[in-house]
Amino acid sequence: MRETKTFSRIPMRTWRWLGVNDLPAPADLDDAIKKEQILVQKGQRDEIVRAFRTGGNYEVQVHLEAGAALHLVLAQLAPQAESCTCRVRVRCAADAKFAATLAEVGARHAAAELFVDLAEEGAGADVWGLYFGDGEQKLDLNYVIRQGGTHTDANMQVRGALKGHAEKIFRGTLDFLEGSSGSVGRENEEVVLLSDGVRNRSVPIMLSHEADVDGHHAVSVGKMDEDRLFYLMSRGLDLAEAQRLVVEASLAPVLSRIPDAALREEIDQFLQERITNG
C-alpha cells in the first residue's frame, strides 16, 4: 500500500477524531512541482493572474519588497478526474500589501496551502477566497497569515458552497506573534450547504502572543436563506434557478475581484452549470 504523504499541517493540532490536523497529499499525484517565483520590487505594484486548468502540483513563491503591492489571482479549474495541489508562500516587507483572490473549484481532490508572512511593520494581507465542491469532490484548504511586524493588517474572507457528496475542510489561521502590537486581523467564512450528503469542516484559528492586537473571526454554516429563496421564487424563478442566484450572490464579492473578464466569466459559467445540474 502506498504511504500517505502529508501536504500541509494545521498550525496548532487538535483532537484526532475530527480529522483536521493534516492535509494528505492526493494519492494519484507524483512529486513533480511546477514552481513560479514572483518578486515585486520596492514601491512597485503588480497584478498577476494564473489559471490552473490541468491537475498537478503548483507552487508560487512571492516576495514583496518594502512598500510593494501585488494582487495575485489564482483560479484552480482542473478537470474533475484529476487532482491538484497548490502552495502559495508570501513574504511581505515593511508596508508591502499583498492581495489575493483565490478560486478553488476544480479537481477531484484539491489541497491548497497559503502562507503569508507579514514580517515587518505596516505589512498587509487582504485575502479573498471562494470554493465550490460537488459530486465526490474533496477540498482541503489551509490558509495562514502570520503577523510578526507592528501595525500589520490581515483580512481573510472566504465564501463557499457545497453540493452532492462534496467534502471540504477549511482551516484559516491568524497568528499574532509577540511584538505585533497595533495589529488587526479579521477572518470570516460563509458556507452554504446545498445537499444533505455534504460534509463541511471549518476551523477558524486565532493564535496570539501579543496583547495589543484586535482579532475577530466568524464562521457561518448552513442552508440557504429561506427568505431569499422564497422572494426569488415568488418572482417566478424555479427552485434550481433561485438557488443558483443565491449562491452566486454569496460568491460574488470574491468573483468580482477577478480583473480578467474572460476568466471571471469562465469561472461563473463553470459554477452556474454545476449548481444547476451538478
Binding site: 496548532m12 507592528t150 444533505d196 463541511n200 484559528i205 482579532g215 473571526h217 464562521v219 457561518s220 442552508k223
Partner: protein, 472 residues
C-alpha cells in the same frame, strides 16, 4: 513615529492563602507510587470492590499501558506516573455527621465555607472528598423520601450496584484516552446522584473535592442520572494546597439526562498551581432534555478540560458557559464539545478567557452535527482578553457539519482592555486600577451571573485576587 508607547500591565503572582493551607499528612494508608497490577489489586481489595469492578480496573490498566499520550494540547510529559501516589485513604471514615469528621479535615472544609452553605439551607445536600475518599455526605430528608439518592460512589456500588454497573464508564469508556483508562484503573471516591422520574430538586447539591497529600492523584468518579422530567442543579468545587511536586487530578464525570429532564452542572475549579488537571466530563441528553454547564477554571498548572454533550434525543439542548483565567505558570486548555445526533437539537457555547503574567489560555472546541441531526442549531461565542504580551491566548474551534438543514454560527474575538474604556472610566473619577478591574469583572459577568450567589462571589474574589495590585 506611529504611536506613543502603550502602557503594559504588570502582574505578580497571587496570594492563595485560603487554599494553600496544608494539613499534616495523616493518611491512614497510601498506595505505593506508580501504577502496577499489584497496586490496582491492592486498591480494589481495600475498597471491597465486587469482582466485576476489579476486572474493569485491570482491563483499564491494560488499556492505559497500550495508549500513548495525546499529540495535541499542553505538554503533559512532565507527569511521571511512577512518582504519583494513586490512592490515599484519609484517616477518617465516611460519615453523615459533620461533628464526626476529624478536626484537621473539618477545619479545612470549614475554612473553605463548605458546611456553612449547608447550614444556611442553600444546599440540599453536601459531599466532601479528602484525598481519595469521601469523608462526609448528607442530604435533606424530604429528598430521600422522594427517592433521591445522593451518596459517595463506594456506597452506591454496594447499595445500587445494578445502576452503577449499567452506567459506569459507558459515556467515557477507558479506551477513550490515556487518562480515561488511568481513571478506570484507579478511580476512588466521587458522588452518585439519582433523581427519580418527575422529581425536581429545587436546591443545589454540592460536592467539594480537596487533595491534601503531596505528589498524589485524585481520581473521583461522579455519576448523575436524572430521570424523565426530573431536574437537578449539581455543584462541584475543587482545591488543593500548593506543593513543589506534581499532583494529578484525572476525575471523570458522567451525566445522564433523560427525556424532558434538566441538569445544571456548575464547577469552580481552583486547584493549586502544581496540579495537572486532566479531567473528563460528558453528558448524554435524551429527547427534549437540557444540560447546562457552568465552568470556571482558575487553578492548576496544566488543565485539559472540555465537557462534551451528546444530544442524542430529538429537541435535546446544551448550554455551555465557561470562564478561564490563566496566570503565571499556568497552561489552561479548556473549552467544550457538542455532538448533535438527533433532529432539532440546539446548543450554545459562550466562553471568556483571560491570560496574564505569562499564562497561556487556549479555547478549544468541537461542534459536530451528524447527518441524523437536521434542523439543528448551534451558536458559539468566545472572547479572549490578554492583560500583557508575556501571555498567550489561542482559540481553536472546529465545526464538522454533515447535515444541510442546519444553522451553525461561530464568533470569536481577541484583544486587550481598550484605552478608550479606561479613559472613559477614569474621566468619571475612577482610578485606573479599579477601572481595569471593573472591565475584567464586566468581561466575566455573563459567566458570573449563571453561578449560584456564593459561587459568583467566590469567582469575583478569585478575579479580584488575580488582579489585586497587579495593574499599572
Amino acid at each position: 513615529m506611529r504611536v506613543a508607547e502603550k502602557k503594559k500591565t504588570y502582574v505578580e503572582d497571587i496570594e492563595r492563602t485560603l487554599y494553600d493551607i496544608r494539613d499534616a499528612d495523616n493518611a491512614s494508608y497510601k498506595s505505593e507510587t506508580g501504577l502496577t497490577e499489584e497496586i490496582i489489586r491492592d486498591i480494589s481489595a481495600r475498597k471491597h470492590d465486587p469482582a466485576w469492578m476489579l476486572d474493569f480496573r485491570l482491563k483499564s490498566l491494560a488499556t492505559y499501558n497500550s495508549l500513548s499520550l495525546p499529540t495535541w494540547g499542553p505538554d503533559v510529559s512532565e507527569l511521571n506516573m511512577d512518582e504519583i501516589v494513586t490512592y490515599v485513604r484519609p484517616n477518617a471514615k465516611m460519615t453523615g455527621n459533620w461533628q464526626e469528621v476529624p478536626t484537621d479535615i473539618k477545619n479545612t472544609f470549614d475554612r473553605l465555607g463548605i458546611p456553612e452553605a449547608e447550614q444556611k439551607q442553600s444546599l440540599a445536600g453536601v459531599g466532601a472528598q479528602y484525598d481519595s475518599e469521601v469523608v462526609y455526605h448528607s442530604i435533606q430528608e424530604d429528598l430521600v423520601k422522594e427517592g433521591v439518592v445522593y451518596t459517595d460512589m463506594e456506597t452506591a456500588l454496594t447499595e445500587h450496584e445494578d445502576i452503577v454497573k449499567t452506567y459506569f464508564m459507558t459515556l467515557v469508556p477507558p479506551h477513550d484516552h490515556k487518562f480515561a483508562a488511568l481513571h478506570g484503573a484507579v478511580w476512588s471516591g466521587g458522588s452518585f446522584v439519582y433523581v427519580p422520574e418527575g422529581v425536581a430538586v429545587k436546591i443545589p447539591l454540592q460536592s467539594y473535592f480537596r487533595l491534601n497529600a503531596a505528589g498524589a492523584g485524585q481520581f473521583e468518579h461522579t455519576l448523575i442520572i436524572v430521570e424523565k422530567g426530573a431536574s437537578l442543579h449539581f455543584i462541584e468545587g475543587c482545591s488543593a494546597p500548593k506543593y513543589n511536586v506534581t499532583n494529578l487530578h484525572a476525575g471523570c464525570v458522567e451525566l445522564f439526562v433523560k427525556e424532558g429532564a434538566r441538569l445544571r452542572y456548575s464547577t469552580i475549579e481552583n486547584w493549586s498551581r502544581n496540579m495537572m488537571n486532566l479531567n473528563t466530563k460528558r453528558a448524554l441528553v435524551e429527547k427534549d432534555g437540557i444540560i447546562e454547564w457552568v465552568s470556571g477554571s482558575f487553578g492548576s498548572h496544566v488543565s485539559c478540560l472540555y465537557p462534551r454533550s451528546v444530544l442524542r434525543g430529538e429537541g435535546a439542548r446544551c448550554e455551555f458557559t465557561g470562564v478561564t483565567f490563566a496566570s503565571k505558570g499556568q497552561n489552561l486548555d479548556t473549552g467544550a464539545s457538542v455532538i448533535h445526533a438527533a433532529p432539532h437539537t440546539s446548543s450554545t457555547i459562550n466562553t471568556r478567557t483571560i491570560s496574564k503574567a505569562g499564562g497561556k489560555a487556549t479555547y478549544r472546541s468541537a461542534v459536530k452535527v451528524t447527518k441524523h441531526a437536521p434542523f439543528s442549531k448551534c451558536s458559539v461565542n468566545c472572547e479572549s482578553l490578554m492583560l500583557d504580551s508575556a501571555s498567550r491566548s489561542d482559540t481553536l474551534p472546529v465545526m464538522d457539519i454533515e447535515a444541510s438543514e442546519v444553522d451553525v454560527g461561530h464568533e470569536a474575538k481577541i484583544g486587550r482592555i481598550s484605552d478608550e474604556a479606561i479613559f472613559y472610566l477614569t474621566s468619571r473619577g475612577i482610578d485606573e486600577d479599579e477601572a481595569r478591574a471593573m472591565i475584567v469583572r464586566g468581561f466575566v459577568e455573563p459567566i458570573a451571573k449563571e453561578l449560584p450567589l456564593e459561587y459568583a462571589v467566590e469567582m469575583n474574589n478569585l478575579v479580584n485576587m488575580e488582579l489585586e495590585g497587579t495593574m499599572g
